[in-house]
């Protein structure tokens, strides 16, 4: 029972932009919650500011952004910039969804921790978060 009193990993899953396809986001949220994390899902069609504010208010360790409609190269930089302005670069940003492999190095350069492509087993995402937040 060494986990007693220890804070659970807190994750915000967000759909930023106008796209409404959230099957993947919900599956990931479901799996993270089953793994014992505190998971908040924003619902679809969040603005960049809404997502950042929610992440800060909820004091999350991880912000997971799900994209399907090709707008990630425009929206991710805004999220990273917003977190920086609020001095919250400690929030780990993960990106998942329909992302071309050639975009990955650019996203990482922007400060994204990791990009998960379609077909990634949800448990791989669970493990990644557990190993990289220093909690379980």
């Amino acid at each position: 029972m060494s986990n007693v009193g220890k804070r659970k990993i807190r994750v915000l899953i967000a759909k930023v932009g106008l796209d409404g396809h959230d099957r993947g986001a919900k599956i990931v949220a479901h799996n993270l919650r089953n793994a014992g994390m505190e998971v908040i899902y924003t619902g679809i069609r969040q603005t960049v500011n809404q997502a950042i504010n929610a992440a800060i208010q909820e004091d999350v360790d991880v912000l997971g952004l799900s994209f399907l409609s090709g707008d990630h190269m425009v929206l991710v930089p805004k999220v990273m910039q917003g977190l920086k302005e609020k001095g919250r670069q400690d929030v780990k940003v993960l990106v998942g969804g329909i992302i071309l492999k050639r975009h990955i190095p650019e996203l990482i350069k922007m400060g994204v921790q990791k990009v998960f492509l379609p077909g990634t087993p949800p448990n791989e995402i669970v493990r990644y978060i557990q190993q990289n937040t220093g909690r379980s």
């Binding site: 599956i27 899902y41 425009v74 071309l100």
Partner: protein
Amino acid sequence: MNKIIDSLGQWENTTLKKVLDKSPEREDVFKTESGIPVKRLYTPLDLEDIDYESELGFPGEYPYTRGVYPTMYRGRYWTMRNYAGFGTAEDTNKRYRYLLEQGMVGLSMAFDLPTQLGYDSDDPLSEGAVGRVGVAVDSLADMETIFDGIPLDKVSTSMTINAPATVLLAMYIAVGEKQGVPQKKLMGTTQNDILKEFIARGTYIFPPEPSIKLVLDIVEHCAQHIPRWNTLNIAGYHFREAGANAIQELAFTLADAITYIEKAQERGLEVDYFAPRLSYSLGCYMDLFEEVAKYRAARRLFARIMKDRFQAKDPRSYLFRIFTGSCGSTLVTQQPISNIVRVTMHALMGILGGDQAIHTACWDEGYALPSEDSARIALRTQQILAHECGLCNTIDPLAGSYYVETLTNEIEKRASDYLKKIDDMGGMLRAIENGFVFREIQKSSVKFQERVDSGERVIVGLNKFVMPEEKDVEEQDIFEVHEEVEDLQKEKLLRVKAERIESDIKQTLSRLELAIDRDENLMPYIVEAVKCYATIGEICGVMRQKWGEFRAPAYI
């Protein structure tokens, strides 16, 4: 039948038993994709209770199990209608002309997300999304360019547009007029199915009540003025993409249909006045027999609902005319060329299911919008099946299959059970509000993912027959919408605004506002506004102001 019972028993105890004793089967229980148990063998015993006349009948006759038309593909092939549209109006016009030259029969318009949500391209919320998943349409000027050189009296156009469907239909009417084609000659479809947007896909704008009012404005306007328009395409496809199984897909589609028909009746429309122009859309997943059975069950169950529940008299009201298409979620990004085989199966399901229009997805859709080459292959897939494979010589060729008929019955029964449950809750609007529909879909979605994760549900290239990443795919051929789209579109919008007469805009928009207050049919007012080049953002802006915006709850 007794003879068959005896000989079946004998087979089981001798021939079969000998083999089972030595080598067991691959699984203890076999199931369809949606979880219906599948027996080892189906025989005439399974069809014993089926009354041919009342359950199957003849094509073009009640209950339409075998098809909605008397000659089906012997008369004409299904409409090959592949979803397309991207970038600027010019880009899309070029792609449409290409597809029509290649033998595509009907257009299927994909709009970008700002258009689908009633925002202009220069709206801050549109940033990054202009021209991305479909073509950007701000004003009539864009629609004029899209259909430049495409005569609207020759081509039928299906528009995947929902919340602002009135605006896009109004623009289509206006383009027709400019081409000299009166609205009564227009052919096509507005998806116009807002209920499924609340459940899946998410391109709703207004709260449910005014949203349904807009749906019915189109239904009513077209019944009066555009006799060949499919006013409302009630879609299950999107439930499927969100994770629903085949039975839920069918049940929720029918529950939506029932809701629209009831709402139209409340508005004073007779069922036979509008129901003949309703059409339906169901997806194609990967279990061929289950999908074929689903289409057959859909026709029968719907005809029964129209007859018994709504007392429709016009036989055209009974027709469950189906537009089907590849579910994108069956396609993978691993070894993506293999997707061509999956898509071929989708088309085959639609054909064996007797559907009226088919969309075949492109192999590269897991990455981005299709390239011209991949779009052509998707079209060729349908053409090969139509012309080379002998699929279209007889009607409903899987009828009488012990298995397919059993599955058809089972799907009808299970979908009816869902409908009963929804009725007991007080109808579909209630079932959406109380989260039932979301939870059901989410349950199936999770179950599917667990089966994939455990390897029980094989996806070739993803969880079996996997290749090392570097040998998997070359991304350089993947199509990307050019970067300048957003700027080009904003410039065009500025030009349009500079050239139009502002007082016309003010006047038509205030007339629209007044019509909203008086609860009139808004179609004529929107047509007037788009003709003056009022933008989609301006028109939807008036409605946003009057009705407010809706936010659906998020369930996980």
